[in-house]
């Protein structure tokens, strides 16, 4: 009896605010964004769930240390402009991060509320603040320092390159971003699909930097159009390399060059950067598989599978050699994929592709796997079960089993030191490489990782570049 009484006095518990979303059956056939975003009321209500901890664990979980309770309390007070300014101090791309960060292993994974209940929806709130500013804000530019007369070249316009450019332009340096593709944004425009990250958001972020004075030069393939040393000769004082990890990995099994087998990079670039889902309104074609297999289980695999569904597939299957527990994709993406009818073929590994007499893919031979002892990554190693071969029919296969370092730039710059996998060696605290005046960060240093880690590395490098420009190497 007494127990019940105390329970009643306790503040009413607010459940975690569910994100409004397009219905699975509808969205599985269109390219519009899936989560629709919190309304103002939902955001304020969700913000009230935050306990405003003295020692916030969530902040430790954020790779760039956003003051999470700080911005959440501003949302609670409906001071949205102040909230976004607060986030900007640590994170210059919150509209992106709110949508694509793996919050469940970062900020939200550490949230105290999550011990007994579901954690505060930090990502959704971050997205809300950024979207509110984009829709209602003044678009006012932050003040920039007096020009220093120093020139910086940023190679690659992914999240890490854009972050460096933004940080250095406000410090008064003259910044030019060189991008190999005809459009800037890196993976944010060529890899991550429209339904997860609308391209208009990325375009606006780039436009914001341009308004601040950053020059963006597309169609500049550094290593081919111009080399790093030529950039120094042109008068640049410092160079940041943020070229990502864009080299596609294949399975290296027989039959891989049949028609109908594409790297996820090619498939997603056609779909996103070239907008091939609008073909023939646009000129770039994309294969429309009816029976699609995607190899791999990371974000890239989920994006490929969900794209295939939207392009009209009858059946899309994720084939992965480990089990569900080891799937590296964000929880939200796996959940969304399942809701959209994508099937998971786990503990399965293809051994060869099968083609028809016209050289087109018609299926693949697979082996069933079981989990053995843990490997170097700490995950249990998949081992083939003997004589478990079976055939899987498919007319399109997207290979999303990882990516590596593209040697294009590094080959033409012999004095950069590389790891044995071809990534650039750089100091983790400053981003300094072994070549004077050159910094590097993001996926080209760490290997394929996350947007927020690429941005974190970029911020440290920007600080170090600034110091160098003002004081020396």
């Amino acid at each position: 009896m007494a127990k019940e009484a105390t329970k009643k006095v306790k503040k009413e518990k607010i459940p975690r605010g569910a994100m409004p979303e397009q219905e699975p059956e509808v969205r599985a056939r269109n390219f519009m964004e899936v989560p629709l975003g919190y309304t103002q009321e939902m955001a304020v209500r969700e913000a009230q769930r935050c306990l405003q901890c003295k020692n916030p664990r969530c902040v430790d979980g954020c790779p760039v240390g956003v003051d999470i309770p700080g911005f959440i309390s501003l949302i609670k007070e409906e001071k949205f402009t102040e909230a976004i300014r607060h986030i900007w101090q640590k994170n210059s791309l919150p509209a992106v991060c709110g949508r694509v960060c793996p919050q469940e292993i970062q900020c939200e994974g550490r949230c105290i509320v999550g011990k007994k209940d579901e954690p505060v929806a930090i990502g959704n709130l971050e997205r809300f603040a950024a979207d509110w500013e984009r829709e209602n804000g003044t678009g006012a530019l932050p003040p920039t320092a007096e020009p220093t007369g120093k020139k910086v070249a940023v190679v690659g316009s992914g999240p890490s390159g854009l972050t460096v450019a933004g940080d250095l332009i406000v410090k008064g340096h003259d910044v030019t971003v060189l991008e190999a593709f005809h459009k800037s944004g890196g993976v944010l425009v060529y890899g991550i699909p429209e339904f997860r990250l609308p391209k208009a958001i990325v375009a606006q972020e780039v436009n914001f930097l341009e308004r601040l004075g950053v020059k963006v030069e597309c169609n500049a393939v550094v290593g081919r159009t111009v080399s790093l040393d030529e950039l120094f000769d042109e008068g640049y004082d410092a160079i940041y390399i943020g070229v990502g990890a864009g080299l596609p990995r294949f399975m290296n099994i027989p039959g891989e060059n049949l028609i109908g087998i594409l790297s996820a990079n090619e498939y997603l670039t056609r779909a996103n950067l070239m907008k091939a889902y609008l073909f023939p309104e646009v000129d770039t074609p994309i294969p429309h598989g009816k029976n699609v297999v995607v190899l791999g289980a990371g974000n890239v695999a989920m994006d490929s599978a969900r794209t295939a569904m939207r392009l009209g597939a009858d059946k899309v299957r994720i084939v992965y050699r480990r089990s569900r527990q080891e799937m590296p994709a964000r929880t939200a993406e796996i959940h969304h994929a399942e809701q959209e009818g994508i099937e998971f073929f786990l503990l399965t590994n293809p051994t060869r592709y099968l083609g028809d007499d016209k050289g087109r893919l018609r299926g693949m031979e697979c082996l069933k796997m079981e989990l053995g002892e843990p490997d170097e990554s700490g995950r249990r190693r998949p081992v083939a079960i003997e004589s478990s071969e079976f055939e899987l029919d498919c007319d399109l296969c997207i290979v999303a089993v990882g990516s590596g370092a593209n040697p294009l730039l590094t080959e033409s710059t012999p004095d950069l030191k590389l790891s044995k996998w071809g990534y650039i060696e750089a100091d983790l605290e400053t981003g300094k490489t072994f070549k004077k005046g050159v910094w590097a960060g993001g996926d080209i240093v760490t290997g394929a990782a996350t947007v927020i880690l690429a941005m974190g590395a970029a911020r440290k490098a920007a600080d170090s570049i600034h110091e160098y420009l003002m004081r020396g190497w």
């Binding site: 190999a180 081919r224 159009t225 111009v226 596609p248 294949f250 060059n257 070239m274 023939p280 646009v282």
Partner: protein
């Protein structure tokens, strides 16, 4: 925009020459390298090997055949207008070296790509015998330029309207029988390169070919351009476009070039209907 400063129609209007303002590319490009062009916002990225460059003027020249929607769209671009995007120079440059006698074999628009390579091979002191082929006399391109770039020029037409009546491979065989040849270069339609390589292999003449698979980025990022060379997968855009002709899996390349055949037909037909 990358402006077109000169435009010519050849081969009865099926082949177009564009000289394009692209000073950065012109300053860097070497024979054998290619560029990627995109006409407008919704355009496709099309790789074309450069036919010439003029670093002083800051221009590059490409010569292409109208085969689909994208090249039909390129054909509509006039002097003063131009391409939204030109990216390059891409791919590895031809290895030019004095080896003695070199036979350069070109077919169709491949002759445009072959021309700067031929010129460079002659400039370093090789004795260059060129063989160029077309379906008929009116479709032959760059005859004068190839004549100037070679020590000897042999011409073949399928219909016999000019030069040797028959295939380039027949003249090639004749030359290989007549005297020692140290190197061959073949650039043109895939079947032509395939048969040239089969013949030069018989005579043990090292042969270089330039491949033109489907590409997207041209920088090693997508793997769409993969070709099999000596049993190994290579990315033509970064490992090539030139390869040892005796190692290439031509049949696979021909198959892979058909990947979007149906889509392209649809897109091309719609475009032609709009243009009419």
């Amino acid at each position: 925009m990358f402006k077109i400063v000169k435009r010519e129609e050849m081969s009865e209007g099926n082949v177009i020459l564009n000289e394009i303002e692209a000073p950065k590319i012109a300053a860097k490009a070497r024979p054998g390298q290619f560029v990627i062009l995109k006409a407008n916002e919704d355009g496709e990225r099309i790789p074309l090997t450069m036919a010439d460059t003029d670093p002083q003027k800051g221009t590059i020249t490409v010569i292409y055949m109208v085969v689909g929607k994208s090249t039909a769209l390129f054909k509509t671009l006039q002097i003063g207008g131009g391409y939204q995007d030109v990216i390059g120079p891409l791919g590895k440059a031809t290895h030019i070296e004095k080896v003695g006698t070199v036979v350069c074999v070109g077919g169709g628009t491949g002759i445009a790509v072959l021309h700067p390579i031929t010129r460079a091979l002659k400039e370093v002191g090789n004795h260059v015998i060129s063989i160029v082929g077309a379906r008929s006399k009116d479709l032959l391109i760059l005859e004068d330029q190839m004549k100037a770039a070679s020590n000897e020029l042999r011409i073949c037409t399928d219909d016999g309207s000019y030069g040797h009546h028959g295939f380039v491979t027949e003249v090639l065989k004749e030359i290989l029988e007549a005297g020692k040849v140290d190197q061959a270069v073949a650039i043109g339609p895939v079947p032509m390169m395939k048969f040239v390589s089969l013949i030069t292999k018989e005579y043990n003449v090292p042969t270089m070919v330039s491949l033109n698979p489907i590409m997207v980025d041209g920088t090693g990022m997508c793997g769409g351009c993969r070709v099999t060379i000596g049993g190994q997968t290579k990315f033509a855009c970064v490992d090539g476009p030139e390869f040892d002709g005796h190692q290439v899996d031509y049949d696979e390349l021909m198959t892979r070039l058909q990947a979007y055949c149906e889509d392209e037909k649809k897109c091309y037909n719609e475009f032609c209907m709009l243009e009419e």
